[in-house]
């Protein structure tokens, strides 16, 4: 793993958290969308918050695709675990959503679970894998 690759994984976490938070801010403006008015989902992307959220999610997508090109899915996904913590903090402090102690504990368990995977040896190779991903997983293990 090079320094730049860690940066890409950090981007995966940060961009998804920021993007989701902006989407939520925008969707709160629009209120609950019922099954009778699904067309308002299409109009939703005209909301500035939603539009900015989509831009950030595009940045997330670029870093995510880049990461997937040199690492396994089960290796890349835990890297975004930090995103859950960021989303919880955004929900609490930016949008003033109430987070019960049970939810805090839930967030802690989720983060512990994904951190557990990330900290462990990443056996990302398989006999059926291609040569390039084999190199990526050797780097991941080192």
């Amino acid at each position: 793993m090079t320094y730049r690759k860690y940066l890409v994984l950090a981007g995966v976490a940060a961009f998804s958290a920021a993007g989701d938070s902006l989407l939520a801010r925008g969707m709160k403006d629009l209120g609950g969308i019922s099954l009778d008015h699904l067309s308002s989902l299409i109009v939703a992307i005209l909301n500035p918050w939603v539009a900015c959220g989509i831009l950030l999610l595009l940045a997330f997508f670029a870093s995510y695709m880049s990461a997937l090109s040199w690492a396994d899915l089960t290796y890349v996904l835990p890297a975004s675990s930090l995103g859950y913590v960021l989303v919880a903090l955004a929900a609490r402090f930016l949008f003033h959503e109430a987070i019960s102690p049970a939810r805090w504990l839930g967030i802690a368990l989720i983060t512990a679970g994904v951190g557990f995977v990330a900290a462990g040896p990443s056996h990302t190779t398989s006999d059926k894998r291609s040569k390039t991903s084999g190199i990526a997983s050797q780097e991941a293990q080192s």
């Binding site: 629009l30 839930g106 802690a108 368990l109 989720i110 679970g113 557990f116």
Partner: protein
């Protein structure tokens, strides 16, 4: 009714984004290491290689479905429930999907982690 809508949308997100993740992961493995491809042949070659991979577009379609399910869910539920719940359930679903469809090695450690994550999700639904 509000809760039912929220959880139905979360279910849709999990199915669509797991399918999307598996398809995109497979597509990017077909493309190869993007950073090396960029270094050797330039950004244009990277874009061209990705756009000529059909699996990539199937993944995109699935991700698009997941995105609209997310908007739907967020209009009904709290951000602090919808995002962690759908993301962590997707994580568990992906662990199995990656094992079955991508032949990735998902050991005891990762399954235990999946249980931790599922426990966390159950707590958040209270």
């Amino acid at each position: 009714m509000k809760e039912l809508y929220t959880w139905a949308a979360i279910g849709l997100i999990v199915i669509a984004s797991s399918a999307g993740d598996v398809l995109l992961s497979r597509a990017m493995k077909q493309v190869g290491d993007v950073s090396e491809l960029w270094k050797d042949h330039g950004l244009f070659k990277v874009v061209e290689r990705i756009l000529s991979t059909p699996t990539f577009f199937l993944g995109l379609i699935a991700m698009g479905g997941a995105f609209y399910s997310l908007l739907f869910a967020l209009s009904w539920g709290d951000l602090s429930l919808v995002v962690p719940a759908s993301a962590s359930l997707t994580f568990v679903a992906n662990a199995f999907a990656a094992r079955i469809f991508l032949h990735e090695r998902v050991g005891r450690r990762r399954l235990l982690a999946a249980l931790l994550v599922a426990g966390g999700v159950a707590l958040m639904a209270i």
